[in-house]
Amino acid sequence: MDSTLIIEKSVIILVVFAITMLMAMYSTLAERKVAAWLQDRIGPNRAGKGGILQPLADGLKLFAKEEFEPDTPNRFLFFTGPALAMTTALMTSAVIPWGDKFHLFGRDIILQATDIDVALLYLIGVMSIGVYGIMIGGWASNNKFSLIGAVRAASQMISYEVAMGLSLIALLMMTGTLSLREISAQQAGLNWNVFYQPLSFFIFLICAFAETNRTPFDLAECETELVGGYHTEYSSMKMGFYLFAEYANMFISSTILAVLFFGGYNYPGMSWAVENWGVNIANVIGIGALFVKICGFIFLYMWVRWTIPRFRYDQLMHLGWRILIPLAIVNIMITGIVILRAEIFAYLGF
């Protein structure tokens, strides 16, 4: 491994980290602005022009708040909870292809931290261990509300992981690869997977809402029943980490949705742009296209949050186990039949 590659990858990892943090920061502002817009208000407008410095002010406020600790016998685990939530939220971005490639300094730079063969499984794995941050934090708080919130969040995430995995299997049968880079490359032009697998996209979208604990699935922090849910006992920046992890998760899951189903960095006429304007300019537009898609999904998350009320717990479980999972299995069967249609017709003698 040469040192240029290490420098190149380090720069990419740092930039991705910075962008994730920035997007998570400004998602908090966007959430308040969208809420204000949907409710016919103005929203935060005091810090900076049009409230543009509001996230900085919020962050400063969280740092300056008093650090309160409950009387818990598990002080170490109490600290580990938010750290784990933040770590798993940031780990996912490692396998995402942010663009095709740049041609700089006489070498091709691939805009991805690592291109492993099992990228999609890695995503599912990181999502599944994301529950630990909430569970451990909620339990270590030594509070009944926190515990019930944590258990709710965990059971919800486990239930929806099943449907999510099954919906991805239908997609995998079509793409034939687990590498996100190859999946992106296959969707060149307007060959987006959402046109071939609309049901899979729909199931994945609902599960992504559930996995990020967003409304209508935010039973984990249902104020009327559970005070603040799993982060009732948290204050100051530890609380900030939990909230921040939620927004980072939202950004990452929007990215995954865009990469898997909406063509990633591809946009109509990309090959034409590569021929006429060169690789670099075409890819700058590609990254722009990816971020437009991501912002679209983030807006969808907020739009849904301020439109649809929260589910009841039994409705949540009913939707996950009795509707989404059978639907995903039917989707897998249909996909299989369509892929093998030639063989089936030959077997039936048409």
């Binding site: 598990n74 685990l77 492993i116 063969d117 099992v118 499984l121 890695y122 599912i124 794995g125 599944s128 261990i129 529950v131 630990y132 569970m135 451990i136 339990w139 515990l147 944590a150 258990v151 965990a154 059971s155 486990i158 992981e161 687990l178």
Partner: protein, 179 residues
């Protein structure tokens, strides 16, 4: 006999292996040793992660990730779940009669005897593997091997899992009906 490793000239992989093995053994021991069941479960999770690290060292990416998803991501979370809801305390620990302790010691000594015998008589077979030239890191190759050469055991395993799943559903349903 058991070889003592040469720490001075160890390669990077060997050092990583030693660190991982240390974490695995330590957390496995702490799983049994710690009194709080939740701490036990968390140590077990760390143990599973280090085992996944061993798979990565053997270039088995697929196995490592699936290990994390299945054991750390699903099974251990359900474990934690049950322990948290049951709210086990140290005080509730059942007092064990003396005969049980004696039995435990005897069985431990017997197991150690067998393990020592195995370690002394075993011959390392690392040198005897032959390279087939296939890249088993690739999921395509792995899938083809599983569904061509090992089709029957693979399908039997899936049937076994299905039966276990239906069985557990049936058991939990029956209890409810009787109540």
């Amino acid at each position: 006999m058991i070889n003592i490793p040469d720490f001075a000239n160890a390669s990077a992989v060997q050092i990583i292996f030693c660190v991982l093995a240390f974490i695995t053994l330590l957390t496995a021991f702490l799983t049994i040793y710690s009194r709080n069941p939740i701490h036990s479960a968390i140590y077990l999770v760390i143990c599973f992660f280090s085992i996944a690290g061993h798979y990565f060292l053997l270039n088995a990416q697929f196995l490592a990730i699936v290990h994390i998803i299945v054991y750390s991501g699903a099974i251990m979370i359900l474990f934690l779940f049950t322990i948290m809801l049951m709210n086990l305390n140290e005080k509730k620990e059942v007092h064990r009669p003396r005969i049980t302790r004696l039995g435990a010691i005897v069985s431990f000594v017997l197991i150690s005897l067998i393990l020592i015998a195995i370690f002394i008589n075993s011959k390392p077979i690392v040198g005897e593997y032959t390279s087939t030239g296939e890249d088993y890191q690739s999921i395509k190759v792995l899938g083809k091997v599983l569904l061509n050469e090992y089709m029957v055991p693979f399908e039997f395993a899936s049937v076994l899992l299905l039966v276990a799943m239906i069985g557990s559903v049936l058991l939990s349903k029956k209890e409810k009906l009787e109540k």
